[in-house]
Amino acid sequence: MATGGEESGALSFHPMDQFIVSRLFCSDDAETAVNECTYDIAWYELTNVTLWLALAVLAVFAMLVLGTRNRAVVPSRSQSIGELAYGFIHKMVEDVAGREGLKYFPYIMTLFMFIVMANFLGLIPTSFTTTSHIAVTAVLGFGVFIAVTVLGFVKNGASFLGLFWVSSAPLVLRPILALIEVISYFVRPVSHSIRLAGNLMAGHAVLKVFAGFAQVTAIAPIAIFGVVAIYGLEVLVSFIQAYVFTILTCVYLKDALHPHH
């Protein structure tokens, strides 16, 4: 948006502009000092966040509902992808959280499908990456944290606190370990959400920085090669971060179901 106003010849870097939340169907009136598209957005307004979240929902729908509409015993290609995703998460939940964890499989599948789709949609040039926002990942991370903590107390009662009391350690060390365990427990949702948002934000910002260097003719080939290389890395990161988020959720779920070491 500010590129038009730049002096020609000077480099203009706006790696963070891609993360700005702005209204849909809106044009900024250049006469006023206030940007009408980003100023004072109410909670219910349609924004680029809304658009890309909706596209993620549609992508999940297309992959898991439209792809499997034939219900073929011998699957088509699209159905295989849906079954692959199902089997992947189903096996992960079963392996990490045990058979009792399978009850929560739909929730974990929801998290995984949302994150993976939002990550990959974010890789489309000029798109908006919803999972690069702390607001989004914090809701996911704290949602998991609160759900798992409540579940732990509901399932185990006060004995859930045994999670913090390492009975296999020497008695003298136990209070210190308990303190460390409590701190690490409460840090979980923070690291859980910042890991995801941070990875995506950093990657996308680096992409934009490389793209900015492409404005200089002399280093443009290197910059473009850099963009391609970082893009490849980001494809990997998109999947791995979704995987990491999901498997950590399964680990936390396992702690809630079986709090004793």
Partner: protein
């Protein structure tokens, strides 16, 4: 120029991620999106995929069971075939043996009959021959007596019939 100041104002806020004024909007739409995905998955997608996978597993299990059953049937059929073959062979052997024995007994009977007939005929013939021989002996004796008589008469001596007969009889029985 105005846009630049707006941009500058944006920059002063810092990271768009830390612009808390947009948090309520993001969180609201995120919750809507998550609920939508959750309902799509739990109502449609997961039961469908789960049933397809279960059905496939069932089909595979059934097919394997059917194949096993067919294999058993084939083995049973082979055993039945082998048994039928063995039975047929035994039956054939039995029939051959029976027939052989029958033929043998028939043959024996025929042979015995033929032997008896031959023996009867032989004895009959022997009787006839003996009769003929006796007849011939008598004739020879008669002829010998007559011949001796004639020879004696030819020698010009008076022949005594009884003496000649005696002499001939004596010569012939010796």
């Amino acid at each position: 120029m105005a846009t630049e100041t707006a941009g500058a104002a944006e920059d002063s806020v810092g990271l768009p991620q830390l612009d808390f004024s947009t948090f309520d909007n993001q969180i609201f739409w995120l919750v809507v999106a998550l609920l939508a995905i959750y309902f799509i998955l739990s109502r449609i997608a997961l039961p469908r995929i789960g049933s397809v996978l279960a059905e496939r597993q069932g089909t595979i299990t059934n097919d394997i069971a059917a194949a096993e059953e067919l294999k058993h049937k084939a083995t049973a059929a082979e055993a039945a075939y082998d048994k039928a073959l063995a039975d047929a062979r035994a039956e054939a052997d039995r029939i051959v043996g029976e027939t052989k024995a029958e033929i043998q007994s028939e043959l024996d009977a025929e042979l015995a009959k033929a032997d008896a007939e031959i023996a009867a005929r032989t004895s009959e013939s022997e009787a006839a021959i003996a009769e003929i021989r006796d007849g011939a002996k008598d004739s020879v004796r008669e002829v010998a007596k007559d011949t001796a008589m004639a020879i004696v008469a030819a020698l010009g001596r008076d022949a005594d019939q009884s003496a000649v007969d005696k002499a001939v009889e004596k010569e012939m029985t010796s």
